[in-house]
């Protein structure tokens, strides 16, 4: 196929995918039900691969679909489906507008050592049970962090600006929203990557994808055997070099009429740029020249597949004691463990599957999920934990459970989630208003959805909180509501492995009036 239509199709699909992912991450009014997010999230390579390894075929089949797609069509994933890839194309376009030089690419040799080392390190760390390198480098997760930490606050600010104007006209259809604030240090990771990806894509096309991104490198290996690829018609080529200049992957060696298929992202810009129609996207032809097999790379791919499949067994076999760094001891609330979201079944399980894409953070209607800094240890940086000073886990909500693309947070029925214990409330009597001021409060108890925190008689008409471990689910509403500053009088300590809480018991009230009691 030689048609210039290819590029247009690629642009249309990419734009649609990009918009869908922006909506997924920026839908701050939660207008779109989570179930519609499933399909676009399903074919995100890394999240799907994690699901494939940890849960199994059906849930993670998106990862297989991408592999198949790559075998058939080459790295189309990178140009059509990867939100970070598409974002870089947009940056590159802008770069070309700023300086024409930024859009004149040419042929360059690949950064072979760098890209294969990064892939190897990622795979190696993953195979030893650590997900942090993958989390840092997964393109989908990087995009998610850009959207959550940079784009979303801007969108929210715009919303509030608009809301303020409409309010003047007595229109309240657009409500003001709280812009969540995170620890500034948390911004180091996404800001660093924004700088790196931004500069590289503005000035050097897809250099990031071809030298750093482990998914790009991995799919590049597979695309070496892809059926469809860009080919030279040697009889037509006049070696004008326009294709090489148009190639944002720097992968067309027009003098030798060779294309480095491992770096080609099937953007089809070259086909459009060729005045002699010497380039086409077509089935690889067998026959005249047997492509020499690179045994070294074959072994590499084989090894990768071996490790990936072996991983599922390994993750099941892990039974080591969880090591979570303790919070600084100067804090009166002695939190021994952070709280991982319901559905994550426990801290260790969560830490081993979450790529910190931040989708749950963005989707949480109560802003209780925040990126961690060292709560899970430094390797868990950016992975979300429940911060009950910022919000509480709404009793009737299962949004993060339904939305997580990696299976780090697994879906639970609402009734099951309501009985899932993710932490336990601990009352510090010496901090409590009732004890210290001898005035009524009860903010914690009134907030408690299960009445695990309840008030018992104190002095006179006063009552004081008491907690019931068995029915407490650790939602954190008590901690959030506690008005004491700076340290709370009630807080939730995480538990390493989530448990089932007892269902609160209740008896029918018999209050009745035949006549007015006054």
């Amino acid at each position: 196929m030689r048609s210039s239509l290819l590029k247009k199709i690629r642009q249309a699909v990419a734009l649609a995918v990009f918009i869908v992912f922006c909506v997924i991450f920026l839908d701050y009014r939660h207008l779109i039900p989570e179930k519609y997010f499933d399909i676009p999230l399903w074919f995100q390579f890394v999240p799907s691969a994690i699901k494939f390894v940890t849960i199994g075929m059906v849930a993670g089949s998106g990862f297989l679909a991408v592999l198949l797609l790559t075998i058939l069509t080459g790295r189309t994933y990178c140009s059509f489906l990867c939100p970070l890839g598409i974002l870089q194309d947009l940056f590159s376009r802008i770069g070309g507008k700023i300086k024409r030089r930024f859009k004149r690419f040419g042929f360059k040799r690949p950064h072979t050592v760098l890209r294969y080392s990064l892939l190897a390190v990622t795979v190696l760390v993953v195979s030893f049970g650590g997900i942090y390198v993958l989390s840092l480098l997964d393109p989908y997760s990087i995009f998610g962090r850009f959207a959550t930490y940079f784009a979303k606050p801007v969108i929210l600010a715009l919303n509030n600006f608009l809301s303020g104007i409409l309010e003047k006209f007595d229109v309240y259809t657009i409500a003001h929203v709280q812009i969540p604030t995170f620890n500034a240090l948390v911004y180091l990771v996404p800001a660093g990557f924004l700088l790196l990806v931004g500069i590289l894509s503005l000035t050097k096309g897809r250099l990031y994808c071809n030298s750093i991104c482990p998914v790009g490198t991995f799919l590049g290996l597979i695309s070496k055997i892809s059926l469809l690829r860009i080919k030279f018609d040697e009889s037509k080529c006049t070696k004008c070099g326009r294709c090489a200049i148009a190639c944002k992957s720097f992968c067309i060696d027009f003098l030798n009429k060779k294309i480095d298929n491992s770096r080609c992202v099937e953007c089809f810009n070259c086909i459009n740029s060729c005045p002699d129609k010497a380039l086409s996207y077509s089935l690889v032809t067998t026959g005249k020249k047997k492509t020499e097999t690179d045994s070294e790379k074959r072994n590499f791919i084989g090894g990768l597949i071996l490790i990936l499949t072996g991983l599922s067994v390994k993750s099941l076999a892990q039974e080591e004691e969880q090591k979570v760094e303790h919070k600084a001891s100067t804090v009166k609330e002695k939190k021994t463990f952070p709280v991982s979201p319901p559905g994550s079944t426990g801290i260790e399980n969560f830490n081993s599957k979450c790529t910190a894409c931040s989708l749950c953070i963005s989707a949480c209607p109560n802003n209780v999920l925040v990126p961690s800094l060292v709560q899970y240890g430094i390797t868990g940086i950016m992975q979300p934990h429940m911060d009950y000073h910022k919000g509480f886990c709404a009793y009737e909500c299962t949004r993060c459970l339904e939305i997580c693309p990696t299976g780090a947070i697994m879906p639970l029925e609402l009734e099951a989630k309501k009985l899932t214990k993710i932490g336990t409330a601990i009352f510090i009597r010496d901090n409590c208003i009732v004890e210290t001021e001898r005035t009524a409060c009860g903010a914690c108890a009134e907030s408690c959805p299960t009445k695990a925190v309840h008030m018992v008689p104190f002095e006179g008409n006063l009552t004081i909180p008491e907690t019931n471990d068995e029915i407490c689910i650790g939602c954190g509403h008590c901690e959030f509501a506690c008005p004491v500053v700076p340290y709370k009088a009630i807080y939730v300590d995480g538990i390493p492995v989530h448990k089932a809480a007892k269902k609160p018991e209740n008896v029918q009230t018999d209050l009745k009036h035949e006549d007015f009691p006054f």
Partner: protein, 306 residues
């Protein structure tokens, strides 16, 4: 009586009567028809919330007595919790709807509804059924979820709560109608009329930190007072309040209290859930501060059983 007032009154009386009659089984309306009685408190029992309100407001002279043509009205129900109506954690939506209809019938230009919720406000507004009920009646349902909707006011006579931030619509509207739901409450034993004001202010934690009962009473001194308190006692949360654990907490009392004195209203409401009003400190404090009268025996109370 001005002609206009007369027309409004007659219309609302007719409206109430027809509504009551259409439900059937009610005789008292025909038996004695007090038109300009001055009751301190009207208590109704044995009907649907809408029908009870139709009767009760009629006994107080109709909504026209409180809302004039062209006025902006704020109707403040309790929408604090993400619970469906049968849990009785929020005000009965049918009652809210009927009150708004009465306001418009009395000539209100605009009716606003909001609450500073405890749970996620979008879910509270939706799942309580109040957003839909209020919109159906033609009211504007307004957010109250962020601080920028609030403006600082001062209450000079207050003991503790001398300054607080209230929702701007409280300041911008002409008439304020308080529509609490009676509930058991973990912190104060009971929540009802006066405590419902914790949903028009921004910083509730301040109240909790600084003598909750005194703050509740202090706020009742603020000069922008509700002209009417319609206390929903149809379904009543008798324990595990104010949020409730399950439907077992709810007793169907099929009652309503309408009053212009919230101290009296709270005292009467306390008795509905078998509490001695003296056990609830804020009622006592408010009474002593002269905000209202908790001695129900000294009040002119109209009791109606449907």
């Amino acid at each position: 009586m001005k002609r206009r007032d007369f027309i409004i009154k007659s219309a609302s009386a007719g409206f109430a009567a027809s509504a009551a009659l259409s439900l059937g089984g009610y005789k008292k309306l025909i038996d004695d028809k007090p038109l300009s009685q001055s009751y301190d408190l009207v208590a109704i029992m044995g009907g649907k919330p809408e029908a009870m309100f139709d009767l009760g407001i009629q006994e107080l002279g109709g909504m026209g007595k409180f809302v004039s043509r062209g006025q902006k009205v704020l109707v403040k129900p309790n929408i604090g919790w993400d619970r469906t109506p049968e849990y009785a954690a929020c005000t009965n939506p049918a009652l809210v709807k009927r009150i708004i209809e009465h306001c418009f019938r009395a000539g209100a230009k605009e009716v606003y509804v909001f609450d500073h919720t405890v749970d996620n406000w979008v879910n509270c507004y939706r799942n309580s059924g109040i957003e839909k009920a209020a919109k159906d009646a033609g009211a504007k349902v307004v957010p109250a979820n962020t601080e920028n909707y609030y403006q600082e006011i001062s209450i000079p006579e207050a003991k503790i709560l001398k300054k607080t931030k209230v929702h701007q619509l409280l300041l911008e509207t002409d008439v304020f109608i308080n529509v609490p739901v009676l509930k058991n409450h973990d912190a104060t034993h009971m929540t009802c009329a006066m405590k419902n004001m914790m949903g028009v202010v921004w910083d509730r934690a301040y109240w909790h930190r600084n003598n909750l009962h005194q703050c509740i009473a202090d706020y009742a001194l603020y000069n922008k007072k509700p002209v009417l308190h319609v206390i929903d006692c149809y379904n009543v949360m008798t324990k595990h309040g104010p949020q409730g654990v399950s439907k077992e907490d709810v007793a169907m009392l099929e009652s309503q209290i309408i009053t212009t004195d919230w101290v009296a209203g709270d005292a009467a409401a306390a008795k509905m859930i078998k509490l001695d009003p003296l056990r609830i400190d804020y009622i006592k404090i408010a009474h002593d501060m002269g905000i209202g009268n908790m001695n129900l025996d000294s009040l002119n109370i109209r009791r109606i059983k449907m």
